[in-house]
Symmetry: none
Subunit: 201 residues, 4 copies
DNA sequence: AATGAATGAGTTTTCATTCAT
DNA sequence: TATGAATGAAAACTCATTCAT
């Protein structure tokens, strides 16, 4: 039978705060040493709570990982959306370019976290919510361009899929490239995408 | 509880056969229940050998997974290469088209295995051998077309990266699409890629 | 994940009511899923009180189980006593028969609860209070019959023990018997007991 | 990942021996400190094997307990059967008396083990195999006596149930009785049972 | 080359109990 | 009285790996 806990200060915090602290601690550890290698014990120690407290908020490591994935995607989309919305509503080309550029930039900056939080997805991308949501953003931009007569696309959904996957995959290569070649790589990537869309510029 | 040993002896087989049997058993189990959830015990049971025998052929689960990945990529590349080589050496466009089409087809047919054997790559694509090798095939096709004057590309390596990732990612969407729309999806995908290259056809 | 607290206040109830609600909730859960498998959390949730409230009324799970056992036995004995007292004070045979019959009937009706509340007694019967008290009831009936010259018994305490255990054990078999044979089983059981006592009837 | 085990002697033993050693160790500990209080760690330590070895033979504490219960019953029945078979085949009364006496004696000697191995049965006796098998022994003796004209019983199965439960329950009281009264208690118990059967002696 | 009983460190998970509010 | 977030000791169970046969 459990014994008396230590007579420390009141350790209660608002649930939202505790949740964030646990998630931050977990993300940092997953990043440092990998998901597999990180134990619940590591997480609670880093978050300075008791073992059981973890289970008040999450039922397993998989669950906190899922929460991190959702958080990652939400933040990712918000950033991209902001970049797009910084462009004039009617400048379809600029908006598309911003979407591509933001995808590259944010992904370059956050890819480690991305890898971690999506490492456990057995079906690497197929049908996951992140992908769908961001691809949807892109599809709307493509369709706006078509509606506005800026370009024509026989199958915009296919093109959106191609660009989304292509940009992210190519960005993986960009990240692996020598530092001094990255800017050129990025510009070439953007140019290829715009050429694909047939945007006149 | 341990069971009575059956007196089935001798159980020796050629090393190559045993190796294949172990790999086949492992691949099937990884496919069914996932890599994580599959234990060495499961594998040896399915392959009908003793625990220790596994370690005669592989040093760890990671090692057999790596062997499976290599086998997958070799088979994948062979198939694509065959499709490309079925086209005339000088018909760059037909060869490129064949490369794209074979990538889609083979990937559709084998994507489950692909997911499994590459599920453990924390850096989902960055720098892995499969990707590099297949992308290299494509890059050579693109460069052949440039050399032959069939198209011009400012940064062929970037375009190869974009097409490779784009095709595979879009194929994930193709797989998720309703059956009756797949043919159209595939044609649109090929057309987009060729347009990107600026191939006149 | 913790939920928002509902602003339902005040939740105070008379102590006796809370106590009963907790005991009823616990008994129902113990019955459904077993004592071991039922947690304090389950109980307080079913009783719609907070964790801490449980400890205002009981010091442990063992304590509430003990309270349930006492409640069970009190109710059991009261019912048997009522049945016996419905017979004329001087009709020893009728009183004995009523005791046996009531023991069977009440036990058939309540055996699930009996199993639950006495499941933790490592010494299944030896020396527990329930048994002693009910056996004492029987012993008094047997001795009254001896005193009244209705039957003779060389060792009434042994006979009381034999009848008590025999009736309860045999009733377990009665419960397991097909429904349509239960009435006959019960009559045969009563007849055997009366024959054992040597009651002329 | 697990590390190299210590380079101790070969610790392999015939499965049957290991099984018995584990069961003996478990039974001793269950007896000493109770089932609940005994951990798998305790058992393997007492049996001088590694944690994992336990799980080679049993899947849980419940499973070893079940094995112990079976072993107990087998041994119990064997002893009773031997005692009965020591009597002439045609002396029904002596055989019945031997059955009763052996039940009392063996139970007195082994009741602690009995309590332990059957402590977890939620339905204390109803339908469990031990009870059924031993009761069946008794029923056959009763029916042999009827067939041989030694006694008459309106419902032998009910009487068998009553005697079985009665003897075991009363023996619990016998055990609780002062030492110097046990012999008399036992004789009275046997006499009561024989009287119940109507055996002339 | 093949066997399979044995290993044991390591991880997850549970849940009775407390106490500041 | 009542609350419920936090506690943390304790236990079950896993499974990759070894090695004498």
């Amino acid at each position: 039978m459990p014994h008396a806990p230590d007579p420390q200060r009141p350790r209660t915090k608002p649930a939202q705060v505790r949740l964030e602290e646990l998630m931050d601690a977990a993300e940092a550890l997953f990043l440092q040493r990998g998901v597999e290698a990180t134990t619940i014990s590591d997480i609670v120690q880093a978050a300075d709570v008791a073992k059981g407290t973890f289970y008040t908020y999450f039922n397993s490591k998989a669950e906190i990982l899922h929460a991190l994935a959702q958080r990652y995607t939400t933040r990712f989309m918000d950033e991209v959306e902001q970049a797009v919305d910084a462009q004039p509503t009617d400048d379809c080309l600029a908006r598309l370019r911003s979407w591509i550029e933001a995808n590259i930039d944010v992904y370059v900056r956050t890819h480690e976290v991305h890898d971690v939080v999506y490492s456990q997805h057995h079906h690497l991308g197929r049908g996951n919510a992140e992908r769908n949501a961001i691809q949807q953003q892109l599809l709307q931009l493509l369709e706006a361009g078509i509606a506005g007569g800026h370009w024509a696309l026989p199958a915009p959904a296919v093109t959106a899929s191609l660009i989304y996957s292509g940009v992210h995959g190519a960005t993986d290569d960009l990240i692996a490239a020598p530092k001094d070649q990255r800017a050129a790589f990025k510009q070439a990537l953007i140019a290829d995408c715009l050429r694909l869309v047939g945007a006149t510029y």
